[in-house]
C-alpha cells in the first residue's frame, strides 16, 4: 500500500510541479497520469504493488466525487435562478457530446480497420 501511494502521490506531485513551473493548461493529476503512462511504457511492465492495488482503488472512484456534490447546497440559489433552461442545456449538451464523438470514432475505426486489412 505504501509503495502504491508513493508511486501515485509522487507522480501527482511531479505533475503539479511541472504544470506550475511551465504554466501548462493541464492540472497536476492529469499530467501525472500521462507521465506515469510514459514511465510504464518505457519500463514495459507494471510494478507489482500497482498491479495489485490500483484496480481495487479505482473500483471505488465514485466515492471520491460525492463531496463535490455537496457544493450544490452552497450554490443552490445561483442554480435555481436559471431553472429549466439550465437543465435543458446540460442534458442536450451531455447527450450530444456522448453521441457525436461516439459515432465519429466508430466510423473512423471501421475505416481504419478496413485500410489495415487492405
Amino acid at each position: 500500500m505504501i509503495e502504491t501511494l508513493l508511486w501515485l502521490v509522487g507522480y501527482q506531485l511531479a505533475g503539479e510541479l511541472i504544470s506550475r513551473t511551465f504554466s501548462l493548461p493541464l492540472p497536476g493529476p492529469v499530467l501525472g497520469m500521462l507521465l506515469l503512462f510514459v514511465t510504464l511504457a518505457m519500463r514495459k511492465s507494471v510494478p507489482e504493488s500497482l498491479k495489485l492495488n490500483v484496480p481495487r482503488f479505482l473500483s471505488h472512484l465514485s466515492l471520491l466525487f460525492i463531496p463535490a456534490g455537496a457544493a450544490v447546497l452552497a450554490y443552490r440559489d445561483l442554480l435555481a435562478g436559471f431553472g429549466w433552461q439550465l437543465i435543458v442545456v446540460l442534458a442536450v449538451s451531455t447527450v450530444l457530446t456522448l453521441l457525436l464523438p461516439g459515432l465519429l470514432l466508430k466510423l473512423l475505426l471501421a475505416r481504419h480497420r478496413h485500410k489495415e486489412e487492405a
Partner: protein, 237 residues
C-alpha cells in the same frame, strides 16, 4: 450531559464529514446492487442525495462539511494518476487506433463547448452563464481555472460539470444500448469526453478497458478545452 456540545462536534468535526461520506457511498453501493445496477441507482447520484439529506437534516453548512469532505476529495488526484495503469494495459489497442482517437478527442472537445454554449444562447441565458458553460464537459479543476480566466463564474462552472457528469453517467448505458454502440473503446472515449471523471467511474463498472479510455479522453479533452475556450470566448463578448 451536554447535548449542545455533542451537536457542535457532529456538525463541525472533520471526522463526521469523512464518516458520513463513506457511509453515504456504502449505502449507495448497496442500493445499486439491490437495483441490479440500474442506471438511475448510480452510486454518485444516490450518494450525493443521501449526503445532501444528512446535511439539511442536521443543519450542517457546506464549509463545515468540507473540513472532512476535502480529505476524501483529495484522493481524486492520486486516483487520476492511477488511471495510467489500466491505460497501459490497453497499450496495443491505443497504438493501433491512435489516429482516430486523436481526431475524435479534438472533435469531442469542440462539440462539448459548442453544444453547451449554443443551446444556452438559443435559450437566452445571460453572458456570464454562457461563459461558465464553456467548460461543462471537462474535469472540475480545469473547468474552474479556465472559466475564471475568461470571466465566467468558477463555482457555477463546477456545478455544471458535476451535474452533467452525473447525468452522463446515468444516461450513457441506455443511450449506447439503444444505438447498438457496443465497442468498449468507443464507450470509454465518448464518456470521458462528455462526462469526465464521474462518467469514468461509471464505465469502470462496465469494463476496465472502457474506464481506461474514459480516463484518457477526460485528460486530453481537458487539454483541448483549456486551449480552445480562451480562443473562442471572445466571440461571446
Amino acid at each position: 450531559m451536554n447535548l449542545d456540545a455533542a451537536m457542535v462536534v457532529i456538525r463541525t468535526s472533520p471526522l463526521t464529514g469523512v464518516f458520513v461520506t463513506l457511509l453515504a457511498y456504502k449505502l449507495a453501493v448497496l442500493f445499486n446492487r439491490r437495483c441490479k445496477g440500474h442506471p438511475l441507482s448510480n452510486p454518485v447520484l444516490i450518494g450525493v442525495l443521501l449526503l445532501l439529506t444528512w446535511l439539511l437534516a442536521t443543519g450542517t453548512g457546506y464549509r463545515d462539511y468540507m473540513k472532512g469532505g476535502i480529505m476524501v476529495q483529495m484522493l481524486l488526484g492520486p486516483a487520476t494518476v492511477a488511471l495510467a495503469v489500466p491505460l497501459y494495459g490497453n497499450l496495443s489497442r491505443l497504438k493501433r487506433a491512435a489516429g482516430p482517437l486523436a481526431m475524435t478527442i479534438v472533435f469531442g472537445g469542440l462539440v462539448g463547448i459548442v453544444s453547451a454554449v449554443g443551446v444556452g444562447w438559443l435559450l437566452q441565458l445571460p453572458q456570464q452563464v454562457l461563459l461558465s458553460l464553456t467548460t461543462r464537459a471537462v474535469t472540475t479543476p480545469i473547468a474552474m481555472s479556465v472559466s475564471q480566466g475568461i470571466g465566467g463564474i468558477p463555482e457555477l462552472s463546477a456545478m455544471f460539470v458535476i451535474l452533467s457528469g452525473i447525468f452522463g453517467a446515468v444516461i450513457v448505458k441506455p443511450l449506447f444500448g439503444l444505438l447498438g454502440l457496443r465497442d468498449d473503446m468507443v464507450l470509454g472515449i465518448a464518456t470521458g469526453l462528455s462526462a469526465h471523471g464521474i462518467g469514468t467511474a461509471r464505465v469502470f463498472q462496465l469494463s476496465e478497458t472502457a474506464g481506461a479510455f474514459a480516463g484518457l479522453a477526460m485528460g486530453l479533452n481537458g487539454v483541448v478545452t483549456a486551449i480552445l475556450v480562451p480562443l473562442l470566448a471572445p466571440l461571446l463578448h
